[in-house]
Symmetry: C2
Subunit: 223 residues, 2 copies
Amino acid sequence: MPARVGEGATKRVPLSRERLLRSAIAIADERGNAALTMRSLAQELGVKPMSLYHHVANKEEILDGIIDVVFGEIELPPADAGWRSAMRHRAISARRVLASHPWATPLMESRTNPGPATLRHHDAVIGSLRAAGFSIQMTAHAYSLLDSYVYGFALQEAVLPFDRKTAPDVAGAIIAQFPSDEYPHLAELATEHVLQPGYDHGNEFEIGLELILDGLDRLLHPN
Amino acid sequence: MPARVGEGATKRVPLSRERLLRSAIAIADERGNAALTMRSLAQELGVKPMSLYHHVANKEEILDGIIDVVFGEIELPPADAGWRSAMRHRAISARRVLASHPWATPLMESRTNPGPATLRHHDAVIGSLRAAGFSIQMTAHAYSLLDSYVYGFALQEAVLPFDRKTAPDVAGAIIAQFPSDEYPHLAELATEHVLQPGYDHGNEFEIGLELILDGLDRLLHPN
DNA sequence: ACCTGAACACCGTTCAAGT
DNA sequence: ACCTGAACACCGTTCAAGT
């Protein structure tokens, strides 16, 4: 009876924290935040709910874990670029990642337990600003502003029915709800801008981003 | 047997949608989002859970309702001011309201059913910008940028343990977690800025806000 | 070491009944 | 018209047991 373990074994691939987190993200991506339960996760993994507790202490740890995985997907600011293009690159990557996991942004609320990928990410962004000559105080201003914008935009993208392919339908239904005489400005903006054929809410992101980067540049080089 | 109703009646004040929403907000404010359940709400109101369903269709309607109440607390942009001070006033009010209901911002995720106070709020902000000479397109840019910033800042405030009275303790504990050799820039920012005596994260809000207003002003009056 | 059956104290919600 | 008891199909988690 050879004691070898995991060598040519035909048994099921064993559970692991990584496999668990990957499945959890898959469920949240496909069926939303509410569908991610210990029971649904266990079923997805072909296991009983109680087995999960051998790899994580509780559901909180799973939520902390998948948020850290998401942060790990965001590209770090490239070191060989100027601060401005480095910040632009990183902000655009963050927005893309958060848009692909709409459940993640609102979940950041209760997560006060940042994981290693999250800390590494923050450290790299701060380091990039410091290397570019931002004072500690200016770095704090810049990071607070940039991250608020990125998270806030992501949060709105998760809510608004605008940028979907189905935009006209959904938005049209919403418009029907508020009579234009009661909310005239909202109706005007909707019909003459949001509902126009070429409209893509995602374009707003880079416009606001450049405005913020302009402002930071001016803060760094006052003239 | 007089048929008068509610005249000098000593019986319990009857349930109503308003009373229900007010209690729901009180629970969320005091004990957090997770503590707000149909059962806890019923208990707070001195009633059985099933009675709630006489005033709302389901829990979703309660969540939609309390979000709309929160929006109603945000001051509208004053009509007698210039766009810049009107936007500043409204943004500061929004941040204050969202900070006093930390459960609200992340909840806006799933709420795709804006109530009347929410619509009135949006309509007033858009109207204020339009009246100041912003084109429809510029109004869309400005509103997207301002709201992303306000919501994102509120979301971060709900997470970060910074601006609390207990900041030094909590932040100190977090610092202890990441050794300064692994996340040197994070450690530097924490020890030399965030953990300094006079630090107040809330101050960051108005700094970023002015930068954004500067940018919008420049967009409106290019020179 | 890893998995699990049964159970506990919770959820939101329905349905048929009470006044 | 308004409230409710009992029940259903869910939650996350514990505990004592299986291999």
